[in-house]
């Protein structure tokens, strides 16, 4: 892999994704090399089982190749589009096989978690994240820890309000309020980040 280009540079990913849509296997290979570790890590956190995550990663890249021609770059960044496919495939897989996942209290990578809790000590800038993810990390670090956890639980584990509530041992009304406020805060914060 070339090292002079950041592997998660959205423009680069976009050109590989568009080329994959035109049936270019070499571009698809580069796209895989650049993103598969991130997407595998994501699938692994959702599914918590290696073999399931491997299966879902494979299914996802088959879907990415088959749907790349429909990718609309004005609607989603390449990583957004691909991560959404992985997430949907993972949830589909769980529903289809009726598998329950043992939920880890920590949704995030340890270093990312440290950065979210205390960006002064672990700078977000130093993390191996795309620009979009860094912006989101900044805004999530501004949320209270428990609020952040509620949002992450719902996102990573396809949980309803009541499921999050029982997981966190919180009243459902509290969960609803935290989620609503957190999402609002994230929107305002991300809009501000975009302007600056």
């Amino acid at each position: 892999m070339s090292t002079d280009v950041h592997p998660l540079d959205p423009q680069q990913l976009k050109s590989w994704l568009l080329a994959s849509g035109k049936r270019d296997p070499a571009a698809f290979r580069r796209l895989y090399d650049a993103t598969s570790a991130k997407l595998f890590g994501f699938a692994l956190r959702i599914l918590n089982k290696r073999e399931l995550a491997e299966e879902v990663l494979q299914e996802s890249f088959v879907a990415i190749w088959n749907n790349a021609a429909n990718y609309q770059s004005h609607l989603a960044a390449p990583m957004t589009w691909m991560a959404t496919i992985v997430r949907n495939k993972a949830f589909d897989h769980l529903r289809r096989t009726n598998t329950t996942v043992e939920i880890d209290a920590e949704q995030f990578d340890g270093e990312v978690m440290n950065a979210l809790q205390d960006p002064q000590r672990t700078p977000i800038e130093a993390l191996q994240l795309s620009g979009d993810a860094k912006a989101l990390a900044w805004c999530m670090s501004a949320l209270e820890g428990a609020h952040r956890q509620v949002v992450a639980l719902a996102y990573y584990h396809d949980l309803s309000h009541s499921e999050v509530a029982s997981q966190m041992k919180l009243p459902i009304g509290t969960v609803k309020t935290w989620i609503r406020r957190s999402l609002e805060k994230l929107r305002t914060c991300l809009a501000r980040a975009e302007q600056s």
């Binding site: 692994l44 494979q58 949704q107 270093e111 989101l136 999050v164």
Partner: protein, 236 residues
């Protein structure tokens, strides 16, 4: 319920739809609205864009190598990825046994067709190996005969085969093991090239021609452009 004039509710529903906490009837209703409401689709896409980077917070884990091989196999990408390795994808034994018969036959015919009238045919005994190279549609485009006695080989290109300007045709020996070996460039009509020092014997499965920049493939170990003609290398 009408949500068209309620921007706060539209944001809340789109956000919780993306997050996954919008459930049951509310979720199905929202999906119906999505169909009819382009602005709502945009709002939802924006929420995808906001929340999806959370995927990266999981941290990277390198997947095992077999995942890519499985994807490649399921999608049938391999033959595109290494076009010179076509003989690995095709069933080589079948191909060669067929080639034995049909190539020899085609070769005989081509000797007549390509040489045309007025040229004295070379002694048949001198040509120890032969390959008829055909395109994807199995149209024969070239005949290669090796003359072990003179240590050279003759390439005859069928009439009507034109090299696109700015390109060259590069001839390769494709061995059963290892990388293709460059044999030289082919021009229209007749080309004579020296046989490589180690010869072109039974270790060679096929000959192939790739489309390359002028001067041939920049990579000495194989084609960089597409393989346009190929054929089994058979002893006569």
């Amino acid at each position: 319920m009408n949500i068209r004039n309620n921007p706060i509710l539209r944001q809340k529903l789109a956000a919780e739809y993306v997050l996954g906490t919008l459930r049951g009837g509310a979720r199905r209703r929202f999906e119906l609205w999505l169909h009819q409401d382009a602005d709502l689709r945009n709002i939802t896409a924006e929420w995808q864009q906001r929340l999806a980077p959370m995927a990266e917070f999981a941290g990277a884990v390198t997947p095992p190598k077999k995942i890519w091989r499985d994807i490649e196999r399921r999608l049938g990408l391999k033959q595109h990825a290494h076009s010179w390795q076509f003989w690995k994808n095709d069933n080589l034994a079948f191909w060669r046994s067929l080639g034995m018969v049909s190539t020899a036959l085609t070769a005989m015919l081509l000797v007549i067709v390509l040489r045309g009238a007025g040229e004295a045919p070379a002694p048949a005994a001198a040509a120890t190996y032969v390959a008829a190279l055909a395109d994807e549609k199995t149209q024969t485009a070239m005949l290669v005969t090796a003359d072990a006695r003179h240590h050279d080989m003759e390439i005859r290109v069928a009439a009507g085969i034109a090299v696109q300007p700015g390109h060259s045709l590069h001839l390769w020996a494709v061995p059963k093991q290892g990388h293709p070996r460059s044999l030289g460039l082919v021009t229209a009509g007749r080309t004579v090239l020296p046989l490589p020092a180690q010869g072109l014997g039974d270790d060679v499965a096929a000959l192939a021609v790739s489309l390359e920049p002028p001067g041939g493939s920049p990579d000495p170990n194989g084609p960089t452009g597409p393989v346009v003609y190929k054929g089994a290398w058979v002893r006569l």
